[in-house]
Each structure stands twice: as C-alpha cells, then as structure tokens.
Symmetry: C2
Subunit: 125 residues, 2 copies
C-alpha cells in the first residue's frame, strides 16, 4: 500500500507543488552553495550565487526555510549576524543537486556546440 501515493507528473499532487518550488534556478543554486561552502550569511550567499538579487535571495531562502530545508539563525550581536545553513532534509536534497551542477559544468561545451549546430541548420530557412 501507499505505492503511487505521490506523483510529480500529476498536476494536482502535493509533491508536484513541492517539485515546482524546488525546480527553480535560485533555490537549487542556494542549496548547492550551502552544500559546497557550508553555512553562510545573507551577503555571502549573495556573492556566492552570482547574479541573484536581494529580493529573489530573500524570497527563495524564506521558501526553503518554510519547507524545512534550511535553517535561519540570527545571532543577536551588534551588529546582528544572520546565518543560513542546511537542515538534514536540505542536505539530502543538495546531495542530489550538486551532481547536476557538476554535470552541467562538464557538458556545457557539448550543449553549446549542439546549439550552434542547431542554430546554423535553422538559419538556412
């Protein structure tokens, strides 16, 4: 029993909603950065994940925090420090995500070549 309970391919399945939230450029890069560089504060993450705006960083982090993947800790020093770290659930996920990043880096050239070929073939129309 409980096989087939959840299905990411089904539009109305809760797991699909979760998948749609996680299958996002910034969320994935944030988790990968936390996995690769350890706990980081807000501005470290912003520098680590090149090109992310403060708004999207805040938004994605809140989402990850809400889903129990990331822990946000405020150290009440002066000035206060805010540090983000992976929770066990987030670490599990990040371990599936990191290979994806490495694969992309390793195959970027092949994909770029395919794109040029495709574009050349379709320019002749």
């Amino acid at each position: 029993m409980r096989e087939e309970e959840f299905d990411v391919f089904a539009q109305l399945c809760p797991s699909r909603e979760m998948f749609a939230d996680l299958a996002d450029k910034w969320s994935m890069l944030i988790l990968m950065s936390l996995a690769a560089c350890g706990p980081q504060r807000f501005s470290e993450l912003q520098r680590g994940v090149g090109g992310v705006s403060r708004k999207m960083l805040t938004q994605s982090l809140r989402n990850l925090e809400r889903s129990g993947l990331v822990l946000r800790t405020v150290f009440p020093e002066t000035p206060p420090r805010v540090v983000y770290d992976l929770l066990p659930l987030g670490r599990e996920l990040a371990e599936l995500l990191s290979p994806l990043g490495r694969w992309t880096e390793g195959h970027a050239l092949q994909m770029l070549a395919a794109r040029e070929e495709f574009d050349a073939a379709h320019a002749r129309d």
Copy 2:
C-alpha cells in the same frame, strides 16, 4: 589544467546559462517523462506532464532539442507523427533528474508538515 573552467555559480559562465535553462520545472519534467515512459509524441507528452500548456511544451522541447538533449523525429505518414526521444546526453541528464523526482515524492509529506509548522509559528505575529 582546465579545472575551474566552468562554474555554475558564476553569473557570466556559459555553464550557468545552460543550468538556468535546465533548472526549469517543465524541462525537467519532460526529460523525466521521456526517461520513464520512453519515446513519446507531442500529445502523449502533454498528457504525461500534467498541466503543461502546448505553448510551454513546444518551447521547452525546442530548447532541449537545440541543446542536443532530445531528438525530434517526424514520420511522414498521413497524418504525420512527431516523436520525441532522449539523445545520449539527455539520457545522462535524465538519470540525475529522476532521483530528484522520486526524492520529492518521498519527502513531500515532511516538507508539507514543515510548512504548516512554519506558517503556524508566523501567524502568531
């Protein structure tokens, strides 16, 4: 040598551009569907990937085709059939993606619970 050549975290790196294209709900689900159910025609994919519009399906498939991940074949029968299948590059990627889908299905409940807890904690403000 050639270590550090590509870096998905760098905003201007070609691999990051590729990553941004692939780290997309529909592209990932399409690759996963092709990996799980084998070659499929356009309308089969549309039914398989619940909730995708024809527009986004076309767009994502073109993108995957352009990057050399997916092969589009038109069988000149009457009426013509259009079949999409994974190329080796796409199959490699799909093999990293599928675990992600299964993980999401397996941990959806935990994440939903975390969300409820988070929302409850922040409603008391």
